[in-house]
Symmetry: C2
Subunit: 291 residues, 2 copies
C-alpha cells in the first residue's frame, strides 16, 4: 500500500484515539495529565509522520530496522513536544504494522497480520539495542522492582550483547505481564480482534463513541499493564471489574464519566489499553473507515 | 527549508488552531457544527500533509502551481472526511506560505513574506481556473447576492477565460470585502503581524490561551468576512465590538465562554478570522514555537 496512505492512516488513528472522550483515566480532549497535555499528543502525532512513512516504504523493500524506526520515532516525538512519553507504546505497535501494511499490494487484514508477526519474529539484537537506547529519551516510567532487563540502562544493553538476545527474545520475557509485548510476540491478536470490533461499532455509532466503547471493552477484558505495574494487581483487577460493569449496562455515558473522574483522581491511567485501541483503529482506517 | 518540516509545521498549526477553546463561534475541541465536527478537521489536517509537502518542495524549484495545489488540497480533504468545507480558507493561505517557506534556505520571516507575496503576484489564469474548479468540491457556502465572479460555477470559469483574468486579478476584486483575499493580494499583512503577536503571547501563556487570545484580538480588529456576508454589516460590527470589550478587559475566560455560547447559538462563525490565525501560527511554528 502507498506509504503516504499508510502514514496518514496511522496519524489519523493516533489523533482520533487521543481525542475520544470520556476515555476513563487517560488523556483526551477534555483531560490533561500534569506534565503531559492533550496538545503534546497532537504535536507528537504530527512529529511521527515521516517515520511512519519510512516504515511503510521500508516494509516494501526488506522490512529491516524495526528497532531503528522505533528509536527514530521517539527522537522525532521529543523534538516536537516537551510533554515526555506520549507515543512509546503506540510506536512499538505502529512501526511493525506500518511496515507490514507498506509491504501489502492492497488492503488485506490477514496479510498485514501475518507480515507484522513475521517481522517481529525476525527482529535482531540490533533492534533490541536500538529500542533500549530510545527508552531514556522516551522518558518511559518503569517500575524499579522489575524482572530482568526491564530497567532501561547501560547494564541492560550490556546484558543484551552478552546474551545475544534478539528484540523478540526479550519481548517473550515481558509478554507474561505486559500487554504490548504480548501483542508483539503473539501475532497482534488483540489489535486485529479489536479492529474487527471497531469496524462493527462504527456501523452504528459516531467515531468518538466507537473508540470509547472499544476502549472500555478492552479494559473490561484485560488488566492494563501500566496500572498493574504502578498500583498492583488488586487495583488492576478492580479497574477491569468496574469496566465490565459499565459494558454490561450498555456503556452509559454518565457511568463512563464517573469512572473517568475516579481514575483521573487516583492517577490510574490505562495507557497500554489506549495504545492497543489506537493500533486497532489504524488497521480499521487503513481498511477504509472514515469520519 | 526541509519540506517535511514545513508540512509538519503547517499540519500542527491546523491541529492546534482547531483544538484551541473557547474560540467564540467556531469549531473547537468542545464544539461541533451540525454537519462539520471537530473530527472532520482532524481528518482534514491529516489529509493535507502530502499537498503541503509538495507545496514546500515545489517552492524550491519554481513556485508554479498555486491553484493546482489548492485544488488538490481540497480533493484530499474531502476524500478523507465527509464534513464538507473544513480547510478551504486555510488552504488559500497555507499553499503560498508553504511554497515560500520551502524556497527559503533557513527560517526568515521577511523572506517568507516577500516570496509568498511574489508567488501570488505571479499567479495566472490557470491558477484561477484550478481554484474555481475546486470550489464546488470544497462545498464552500457562498452568498448569492455577490459581486461579479463570486458565484463559483461554469459561468465564472467561462468569464475568467474570456477576460483572461489571473488568480491575482480576481482576488483584487474580492479584497475589498474579503479578509482572506486581502491577505493574498496585500502581502499577508495580518498573517505576519499576528505571527509576531503569537510569538509574544507564547512567552507568557500556554499554547491554548495564546491561540484563543490572538483569535479574539483579530476579531476585535477586523470584521469577519463570513459573518458580514452571511448576516450583514450590522452583525459583523456587533461581533467586533463585543470582541473589543473582552480584549480591553483582559481576556476573561468567563466572558469568552459567554461570547462563544452566544455566537454558537446564533450560528455566527468567524471562519476567516480562524484561518488567518492558523496561518499566523504556521509561521510561528516554522520559527520554532513548540508545545
Amino acid at each position: 500500500m502507498n506509504e503516504d496512505y499508510v502514514a496518514r492512516s496511522a496519524q489519523l488513528a493516533l489523533l482520533l484515539e487521543v481525542s475520544a472522550y470520556p476515555k476513563p483515566g487517560n488523556v483526551d480532549r477534555t483531560h490533561d495529565f500534569i506534565d503531559t497535555r492533550y496538545e503534546h499528543f497532537l504535536a507528537s502525532s504530527v512529529a511521527l509522520y515521516p517515520v511512519l512513512r519510512e516504515a511503510a516504504a521500508r516494509g516494501r523493500s526488506n522490512g529491516l530496522g524495526v528497532g531503528e524506526l522505533i528509536r527514530r520515532g521517539v527522537e522525532e516525538s521529543v523534538a516536537w513536544q516537551s510533554g515526555g512519553n506520549t507515543h512509546f507504546g503506540a510506536l512499538l505497535l505502529f512501526v511493525p504494522l506500518a511496515m507490514a501494511a507498506g509491504a501489502c499490494k492492497s488492503y488485506d487484514m490477514e496479510e498485514i497480520k501475518r507480515r507484522a508477526t513475521e517481522l517481529m519474529l525476525n527482529t535482531s539484537m540490533a533492534d533490541a539495542i536500538e529500542v533500549y537506547t530510545a527508552f531514556p529519551r522516551a522518558k518511559v516510567k518503569v517500575r524499579r522492582d522489575v524482572p530482568e532487563l526491564d530497567v532501561m540502562d547501560e547494564a541492560s544493553i550490556h546484558e543484551i550483547r552478552e546474551r545475544k538476545l534478539s528484540f523478540y527474545a526479550i519481548l517473550t520475557i515481558s509478554a507474561s505481564y505486559d500487554l504490548i509485548s504480548r501483542e508483539l510476540v503473539g501475532g497482534f491478536a488483540k489489535t486485529f480482534e479489536y479492529a474487527a470490533l471497531i469496524k462493527d461499532f462504527a456501523k452504528e455509532a459516531r467515531v468518538n463513541e466507537t473508540i470509547t466503547h472499544a476502549y472500555l471493552r478492552l479494559l473490561s477484558e484485560e488488566e492494563d499493564t501500566f496500572i498493574k505495574m504502578k498500583f498492583g494487581p488488586e487495583k488492576s483487577r478492580y479497574v477491569k471489574e468496574r469496566a465490565q460493569w459499565i459494558v454490561n449496562r450498555g456503556y452509559q455515558r454518565k457511568e463512563m464519566e464517573e469512572f473517568d473522574g475516579e481514575l483521573i483522581r487516583e492517577g490510574l491511567n490505562p495507557g497500554s489499553t489506549a495504545d492497543i485501541i489506537a493500533a486497532a483503529l489504524f488497521i480499521t482506517i487503513l481498511g477504509g473507515l472514515r469520519v
